[in-house]
């Protein structure tokens, strides 16, 4: 679990390998619903040495109708070091993710990871609040699991378009955890309503940190909330990637750091950033 140390994204020492590209084996691959697929692979310990908020780059298979070339970044949705498995949830949008749907149990698939800098949870924090939208929930799941293991109270607000495209929330349903799901369909997923719930949590239960992924509009609201209530917050961002390793500065985005505009690589210094540093 990410302790108080955010990795500093300085260059590694010579000889210390920390990212691995490995041939994994498909253990499970099935649709979650019409929009999402769930892939679980047997992965080596090297990749499973990951932390909540990190991601992997998947070499999606090439077949007669899909020819993805670059690797595709996917949040680590679950990892189990004992069972030796790694899970991702993928939204089916294009060549790469369509190709993933065709993977069968036993097929090989090359996965590179763990990549990027994950969430920071300080040991003294007791109650954290997560706000996930859509597939953004994937990135937050390991955070919920590890925080609960560390004895923290986790409140999750998950918003989806409809019940039909909701993702499984079992990883968030830990002892002592609260999960609130809202949908557009039910009309309770409006930003105003969610913001009201967040503020209620802060005022009534005390929130030590807020984490979010999957929605820029939510980020704008949370930036405001973090500022007003002086609560630290982090967000996992997405950006078009190529190398995923910080090499090409393919995925840089501007951030506001102590009054300066600083460009940071989403794949290296991120994908998790301080909410107050984002420019939204």
């Amino acid at each position: 679990m990410t302790q108080a140390t955010h990795h500093t994204a300085t260059a590694p020492a010579a000889g210390a390998l920390s990212v691995f590209a490995a041939d994994c084996t498909v253990k499970y691959n099935a649709p979650v619903n019409a929009e999402y697929g769930h892939l679980i692979v047997d992965a080596p310990d090297s990749i499973l040495g990951c932390e909540p908020g990190q991601f992997v780059q998947i070499l999606c298979p090439v077949n007669s109708s899909e020819q993805p070339y670059l690797r595709r970044p996917m949040s680590i949705y679950s990892y189990d070091r004992e069972a030796g498995t790694l899970g991702i949830i993928y939204k089916i949008v294009g060549q790469g993710t369509k190709a993933l749907t065709k993977l069968k149990v036993g097929d090989p698939i090359n996965i590179m990871g763990p990549l990027g800098t994950g969430y920071e949870v300080k040991p003294e924090w007791n109650h954290i609040l997560l706000w996930g939208r859509g597939v953004g929930l994937a990135s937050l799941a390991p955070l919920a699991v590890e925080a609960a293991k560390a004895g923290k109270k986790v409140t999750t607000i998950y918003s989806a378009r409809s019940k039909a495209v909701q993702l499984p929330i079992d990883q968030f349903e830990q002892p002592g955890a609260t999960v609130i799901t809202v949908t557009e369909e039910e009309g309770n997923s409006g930003l105003d309503n969610i913001r009201r719930m967040v503020e209620e949590q802060i005022k009534e239960n005390g929130v030590d940190a807020i984490y979010t992924c999957g929605c820029d509009l939510a980020l704008i609201e949370l930036k405001d909330v973090c500022r007003i209530y002086n609560v630290p917050g982090e967000v996992a961002l997405e950006q078009r990637m190529a190398c995923g390793l910080g090499i090409g500065q393919c995925c840089s985005r501007p951030f506001a750091v102590e009054g300066d505009i600083v460009h940071k690589r989403v794949c290296k210094e991120g994908p998790v950033f301080k909410i107050l540093e984002t420019l939204v």
Partner: protein, 314 residues
Amino acid sequence: MSNLSTKIGSVQLANPIMPASGTFSEDLAQVFDLNRLGALVAKTITREIRNGNPTPRICEVRGSMMNAIGIPSKGVDYFRTNSLPFYAQFTPPLVASISAPSVDEFARICEEITMPGVTAIEVNISCPNIEEDGKAFAMRPSTALAVMKKLRSATDLPLWAKLTPNTGEPAEVAQACEEGGANAVVTANTLLAMAVDIRTRKPKLGNVMGGLSGPSLKPINLRMTYQCAKAVNIPVIGCGGIATLEDVLEYLMVGASAVQVGTSTFVNPTVMVDLVDQLDAYMRENHINDLSEIIGSVRDKEAADAVFFQEAAE
């Protein structure tokens, strides 16, 4: 182990596989042992601090990619205090890569980058020259000659001129670089390209146009490598779309003394190490003791008529 070593002028390389500038950084030391490479080629830097282009900076095209990164640069001081000591931990020679928007700026950074720890300087003259309506120095023999002459007087280190496949006069540009004092030419950089998202009708790159790299670039840069190797007496370093041992061998056969691997590293981060091993195995299997037996060994004599025909068709 066969003799994989090769010489680029005075620079001795343990093997002919090195990274292409901009597709290699300190970060790759997390993935494999950089000592396995023939050389370390740093990302292009400029004198001024630059942030680079708007996003998206990369996009995929079938079986390849395009980029418009825009050479973000933290300047020479950052290179001196951060990159240089980092790369000094490794044995392969370090090749710095520099660029500038004018001849004078180019000469100035060339002088500044001439420092202990840098073995050779790759000059990215495929970048736009603001004094020549934004056309890259390496588009025309005259501008290539002018900048290389100035660079030659700015340093005693070996100069590698990185050319562009966008020129219609590759052999003449390579000859101009040789005349201007280049110790090698690198063939080549990316090819100017474009892609549109038909859903949004927006260009797929924030910069509208960008450079094509990856497997679809290979036949073009291989042809250019062949043309340049025929035209000059200095070593030629092949670059463009290399992903497999076959690609490496093709470049060597048309006359490259070494090769650079770029985009493939994004797909397979250990590809350069794999290529070194595969080249070694190939040479042993085929009883080739020395790389020089492969370099320039293409059997093109019979094809002379076809070559002339191609030139006539231009």
